[in-house]
């Protein structure tokens, strides 16, 4: 793979709340190369969305705090960037698509006005150029009769169409990097299939890199080249999609894959992960997964496991591997 576009290096993000300190992201490192599609998977509260938002510097500080680590885009630490550079990064290089288009888009402006605004601000277009380009973009993402939909408001679109509008807006600045945060979670499965197809085709067509946040292992299995699995603020496993699915090495990843009911055969009982996610305000010492882990050892309760390369390019943070 070519040179990394995005590098997240030992990133720790804390939220200082009244009730105490919550570590949402703890020592996460990953890198995404040019043209790579990376899926960050985990359950609610695992820190995947916070990680993604930190790339756009969308973590509210306070209460949030980048306690340590760096996020580099094309080699440049984004937390050292000036406001002007940051604006340029958000406007021209990195774009983001959110889960809820209804709350991410402005309900009181027409779709044409919103996308046009982005084009005029970021691309320096005049009104007529912006309008023309907006129609092209809407067409590109498969909105029927785009010319007449310019004057529609967000509520006049269906869920799937709204997500297309958001994608059109994201693409408006010719980004090289797309962050998609659960873009299909609110959608029905048939609509999800079309949006996933659309995102894949856009990635290919515009040679973008993708950071895809989802809780759905089925979605990453088809939308991404590599995946990272997060559990309770830690990245626990990282590798190519084929490796991780065929040969999962962290007990949490194994547990997740076993929890999913299968479509091809009916099993009487599933194999869930026992217990519940730890309280993030008061996490257990050592590996955060140890209270739920069937293979937990004494060391798991004391020490946070280091990364171990279990196969070329395939990493897991688990004491089971550091023992061998």
């Amino acid at each position: 793979m070519s040179e990394p576009v995005l590098e997240i290096d030992d990133l720790t993000i804390r939220f200082n709340l009244k009730r105490g300190t919550l570590t949402a992201v703890d020592g996460v490192s990953l890198s995404i190369s040019k043209g790579e599609t990376f899926g960050l998977v985990g359950e609610s509260g695992s820190g995947k969305t916070v990680t993604a938002r930190s790339v756009m510097r969308l973590i509210p500080t306070p209460p949030g705090e980048i306690a340590s680590g760096e996020v580099r885009f094309e080699g440049k630490d984004i937390y050292q960037m000036s406001d002007r550079e940051m604006r340029e990064l958000r406007g021209q290089h990195v774009a983001m698509v959110f889960q809820e288009p209804m709350s991410a888009l402005n309900p009181v402006f027409t779709v044409g006005a919103q996308i046009g605004d982005a084009l005029r601000t970021n691309m320096g277009m005049n009104k007529a150029e912006a309008q023309e380009r907006t129609v092209e973009l809407l067409q590109l993402v498969g909105i029927p009769s785009p010319g007449s939909r310019l004057n529609s408001y967000v509520h006049e679109f269906s869920g799937g169409m709204r997500q297309r509008v958001m994608l059109a807006m994201a693409l408006s600045c010719d980004p090289t990097f797309l962050i998609a945060d659960e873009p299909t979670t609110a959608l029905d499965v048939t609509i999800q299939a079309t949006i996933l197809e659309l995102i894949s085709s856009m990635i290919e067509r515009f040679h973008m890199s993708l950071l895809f946040i989802t809780h759905n292992l089925g979605v990453v299995a088809h939308a991404c080249d590599s995946i990272g699995v997060m559990y309770a603020s830690h990245l626990v496993e990282l590798g190519t999609k084929d490796e991780v699915f065929a040969n999962p090495q962290h007990p949490y990843t194994v547990g997740l894959l076993n929890s999913i009911p299968r479509l091809d055969v009916q099993e009487k009982y599933l194999t869930p992960i026992d217990g519940y996610v730890c309280n993030m305000m008061d996490p257990p010492p050592g590996c955060k997964f140890n209270p739920r882990c069937k293979q937990a050892m004494e060391i798991c309760q004391r020490e946070i496991p280091d990364w171990k390369e279990v196969a070329p390019g395939h990493f897991a943070a688990c004491h089971l591997h550091s023992q061998q």
Partner: protein, 340 residues
């Protein structure tokens, strides 16, 4: 009753095995009233949420009701409990039509049909303790007379759903989503129901917790011989939990049959489309794709004919004109399609 409705009712098997629930030609139209001008002109817009569906559930089995948002699956669940009143149709429990029951009789019958909702954050009263929440149905149905009995029963219920007795005096906010859903299930079971309707009971849960709750549903079914109507949009969940499956699209049941048949030999183009769109958690499986064109049809004043006609790759002229009946293929397998 229309001809279509007649033939649909006839294909539903009569009580060869004991059917706990028999739903016949169940219909719910919502009148949208519309603006003043159209009202004055006497025009009514009807949202046909559930449009003449018939199905049955045998005692002790699980019927999975699957479909996308707005297809009428939740409305169906609510109609069966008479949380909303149907426009027409028949809902037989043990052969007696619920719709003919008096308010008093219906109240008594409600303990036989219990609901578990999707959002355990909304379905448990935040101001009440678990003791209160789980013993309230006992009060309502006069099933426990003194405090001591109630407490015993609540402890038993907690144990049943895998929660410790230390939780009894806590409040809902002290529990995670998965634990709350266990509590909601315990409440449903408190009155020893025969039929439990789960309306997307695992959709709000993370996958590792979802598996726990699905196992719990299965354990309880084995233990008490419960009958389930399991409503969900997730096909792999439906595949896992159901004995038989009914697929709904815009107010209609388009296909119904034993779970293995529906998932391995689906006939209806919509069932096929749903299955092809599921992204399986295995990179070696084919990627999800959509085999239909366009968007979901609207249930508001739907055109005549098959609701899928405008999107279906197999559509013939007849599909846009005549609404297909749900007809038997073999055994329990029924499909509503002119083409297949």
């Amino acid at each position: 009753m229309s001809d279509a409705a007649m033939s649909q009712a006839e294909t539903a098997p009569t009580a060869a095995e004991e059917n706990l629930l028999d739903v016949r030609n169940l219909t719910k139209y919502f009148d949208l009233h519309g603006d003043l001008v159209s009202r004055l002109a006497g025009k009514h817009q009807l949202l046909k949420a559930v449009d003449d569906i018939s199905f049955y559930i045998r005692k002790g089995e699980t019927l999975g009701l699957v479909g996308e948002s707005g297809c009428g699956k939740s409305t169906t669940g609510r109609l069966i409990t008479r949380l909303i009143e149907p426009t027409s149709g028949e809902i037989d429990l043990h052969g007696e039509d619920l719709l003919s029951f008096s308010a008093q009789r219906m109240r008594e019958t409600r303990k036989d049909i219990q609901l578990v909702f999707q959002d355990p954050y909304a379905s448990l009263n935040p101001r009440k303790t678990i003791m209160h929440i789980l013993s309230r149905p006992l009060d309502v149905h006069g099933l426990a007379t003194n405090w001591h009995d109630k407490r015993e029963r609540v402890l038993e219920l907690l144990n049943l759903v895998g929660m410790g007795s230390e939780h009894i005096d806590r409040y809902p906010h002290e529990f995670s989503g998965g634990q709350r859903q266990r509590l909601a299930i315990a409440r449903a079971l408190s009155v020893n129901p025969e039929l439990v309707i789960g309306d997307e009971p695992v959709s709000a849960l993370d996958v590792s917790i979802q598996a726990q709750i699905l196992n719990l549903f299965r354990e309880l079914q084995e233990k008490f011989g419960l009958t389930y109507l399991f409503i969900a949009h997730d096909l792999s969940v439906i595949r896992h939990i159901s004995d038989r499956v009914a697929v709904m699209y815009v107010g209609k049941i388009v296909e119904e049959g034993p779970v293995d048949v529906i998932f391995s030999e689906p006939l209806h183009p919509y069932t096929n489309a749903l299955l092809a769109a599921v992204p399986e958690a295995d990179p070696k499986k084919p990627p999800p794709r959509l085999t239909l064109s366009g968007e979901v049809a609207t249930p508001i004043d739907p055109p005549p004919g098959c609701r899928l006609a405008g999107r279906c790759p197999l559509a013939k002229p007849v599909c846009a004109e005549v609404d297909p009946d749900l007809r038997g293929i073999d055994g329990d397998h029924r499909v509503a399609c002119h083409v297949v």
